[in-house]
């Protein structure tokens, strides 16, 4: 079928030195690194601001060491803001996780109603949070908002009053992001192998025993991924809080990022705002590291590789 002279050989083919080969991935990543620098540069500058007394109105901008930090740490407004942010993050994440897992389990049980509604599960998530904020702001309106009308709370009950504002914002956050948790957990549950659950049925395990001993540990990594994403986002919440209450009434809902916005953009106190943000950045970075480690362990445990 092939004669001997068909083979091609004998002449020296061009070579590529190992060094050139090694650089290939780096060359491909240069454009992305440029953009990275384009973002890192302002970030570093921001950190720089925290050591200056930089205000738009300030003529003599100079280095003041840890002055900003001292001022912030002694300011009760800062600690109030930290308390509000943590409360918001913990309660919202917990609420969305529990609701999300329940919805995921219900949707997984392939009932007709479940199939129909699964398609529209993601709608709230895809609408801009600020538009969601606007809708809820109109609905919360004491005089002609729809909520007061349906639950006939009269026209004096204000969802965004000093006492209730934070919980109302948490409800709106849950309205938007619970579907995020539900989708993630549902995808996780559906990717679990079918046979172990059939084996559990053969072993005569009831639903609750099976769920506690088998299903939950296997679902746990997916729940943890959702918790990480939600908790991190809640720590830096801004859009819905600013639209609904601008941090008010008073300081009832001024989270760290809202405070920093008011401080640096409205009052032009760049250094003040930057200090708030850098402290929040450190909180986010440390929590992210711990949670990612937790996720690694959970994934190992669910897959059964870690002893």
């Amino acid at each position: 079928m092939r004669s001997a002279d068909d083979t091609v050989g004998g002449r020296q083919a061009p070579t590529v030195s190992p060094a050139r080969r090694k650089w290939r991935p780096y060359i491909l990543s240069i454009p992305a690194t440029v953009i990275l620098i384009g973002i890192l540069y302002p970030f570093v500058q921001g950190v720089g601001y925290t050591f200056l007394n930089y205000r738009a109105t300030e003529g003599d901008v100079h280095f003041i060491g840890l002055g900003n930090y001292l001022q912030v740490f002694t300011d009760p407004l800062f600690w109030g803001s930290v308390r509000i942010t943590l409360t918001f993050a913990i309660v919202a994440t917990a609420l969305e996780t529990v609701l999300g897992v329940i919805i995921a389990l219900l949707l997984n049980r392939s009932s007709l109603i479940g199939k129909i509604f699964e398609k529209v599960l993601i709608l709230p998530l895809m609408i801009a949070p600020v538009i969601a904020g606007v809708i809820w702001k109109l609905m919360f309106n004491p005089q002609f908002g729809i909520l007061n009308h349906i639950f006939n709370l009269g026209s004096t009950f204000d969802f965004l009053s000093e006492g209730r504002a934070l919980w109302s914002i948490i409800m709106v956050d849950a309205w938007i992001y619970t579907p995020f948790v539900a989708i993630l957990v549902l995808a996780g549950v559906r990717s679990l192998p079918k046979e172990p659950f059939e084996a559990s049925a053969v072993d005569g395990a009831g639903w609750f025993y099976m769920f506690r001993r088998l299903m939950l540990p296997m679902m746990w990594p997916y729940i943890l991924v959702a918790v990480i994403f939600r908790f991190m986002d809640c720590l830096k919440v801004f859009d819905i809080v600013y639209v609904l209450t601008q941090g008010g009434p008073g300081h009832a809902t001024s989270t760290l990022q809202v405070n920093a916005y008011i401080n640096s953009i409205i009052n032009f106190n760049y250094s003040g705002g930057a200090t708030y943000m850098f402290i929040l950045w450190i909180i986010v970075y440390l929590t992210a590291q711990q949670l990612v480690k937790l996720l690694g362990r959970a994934q190992a445990r669910a897959a059964g590789s870690e002893a």
Partner: protein, 386 residues
């Protein structure tokens, strides 16, 4: 010309060494098989020769040209991947045309390409599938298309990575025969990788047994079968596996299985008193005693523990002394469990290996008659003058 010279080929992934200083010399037109369990580094070896993986050390010389630092597309090698690697969005025809269209080695015009594709697809019996997409093909048809993409073009070396492993038993047997006939007609050097010893024995001019990235033995099928260099190679070929029983040299005799197996220690091997020995006997070479053999045979008696039908034969699990042996016998003889049975084996077929820990691979010392290899059946035939 289509020769392949590999020296000190080494590749590590992080801390694990996939292949460790491999060296082979493949003659032009030779069908060279690399046999090894999964994870031994077979695919890494092929991909290193094709230049698809960065090697840590060593050199690859193809057709007399040093290709160590050369990009894969200049090496003029063709490879059939175990996963077939067919372009999913291209028809069979385009998959086969791809190497001819790249124009890297030789420019083929339309007519030449069509002729070559028609020729290959007819040989492989897939000429009616030219316009199908890979996902519309059966496993066997995909395998032939992957093979076709190799055979359709001239190359210095064909690299075949376990081409038959995903086929069902029936198709695998017929494809093996087809490969044998194609290989005999084509004189392109071929490097064939498999974990199935029957493919190695059936197809190879020479076999290299690979374990954890190192060649344990390189030789013709007969050498691998007759004088395996250690227990690993002995167990790698032959189904059911060779029986390996631990024994010891006592009073000039080799004693194993609690004394049920005993024969004079071959003088040529000078085995010291008390030496730990491992005796190897292939199930197909242990014969149930029915007719008298003149000298040079070993007799062992035992009790049938389990008889399992194996197609035309029966696999007998025989309790002998304090161990047990696996034997193959004709199915139409009667095999009652618990029935006593006598087994004969020709002494040259009794392999002697060094003693060692249970999972340790120990070297072959010789056979029950001396240092040489066990005779091949046809030589055995002349001896017995049948």
């Amino acid at each position: 010309m289509g020769t392949l010279k590999v020296r000190d080929l080494t590749k590590t992934y992080g801390s694990t060494t996939a292949i460790d200083h491999l060296a082979i010399d493949v003659r032009d037109g030779e069908f060279f098989v690399i046999l090894g369990p999964s994870g031994a580094g077979k695919t890494t070896t092929l991909k290193a020769i094709a230049g698809l993986v960065e090697i840590d050390e060593g050199s690859v010389e193809i057709a007399g040209v040093d290709m160590t630092q050369v990009e894969p597309y200049y090496r003029n090698v063709a490879m059939a991947f175990e996963s077939y690697a067919l372009y999913p969005q291209k028809t069979v025809k385009d998959n086969l045309a791809s190497p001819l269209k790249s124009g890297r080695h030789h420019h083929y015009d339309e007519a030449e390409r069509t002729r070559r594709i028609a020729d290959v697809t007819k040989t492989l019996g897939i000429d009616h599938l030219l316009d199908r997409l890979p996902k519309e093909l059966s496993n066997g048809q995909r395998q032939r298309t992957a093979l076709g993409r190799v055979l359709v073009r001239p190359a210095d070396i064909y690299l075949l990575d376990e081409p038959l492993s995903h086929l069902d038993a029936k198709l695998r047997a017929s494809m093996r025969a087809e490969l044998k006939s194609i290989a005999s007609r084509s004189n392109t050097t071929t490097l064939y990788v498999t974990h199935d010893y029957q493919e190695a024995l059936a197809l190879a001019d020479r076999i290299a047994v690979l374990r954890q990235g190192e060649f344990v033995q390189i030789g013709t099928p007969a050498e691998i079968w007759r004088s395996p260099v250690d227990t690993f190679v002995a167990r790698a070929v032959g189904q059911p596996e060779i029986n390996l029983v631990d024994g010891v040299v006592r009073g000039g005799k080799v004693r194993a299985l609690g004394g049920a197996l005993e024969f004079p220690a071959p003088a040529a091997l000078e085995l010291p008193e008390g030496k730990e020995i491992r005796v190897g006997m292939r199930p197909s070479e242990l014969v149930v005693h029915r007719e008298v053999h003149d000298g040079g045979w070993l007799r062992v008696t035992g009790r049938i523990r389990l008889a399992q039908r194996l197609g035309r034969d029966v696999e007998l699990d025989i309790e002998v002394g304090d161990g047990h042996l696996i034997v193959i016998d004709r199915a139409d003889a009667s095999h009652e469990e618990g029935q006593q049975i006598e087994l004969d084996i020709h002494l040259p077929n009794v392999h002697l290996f060094d003693g060692g820990a249970p999972d340790e691979h120990t070297a072959r010392l010789g056979s029950a008659v001396g240092r040489g290899a066990a005779p091949l059946p046809e030589e055995l035939e002349e001896e017995l003058g049948e």
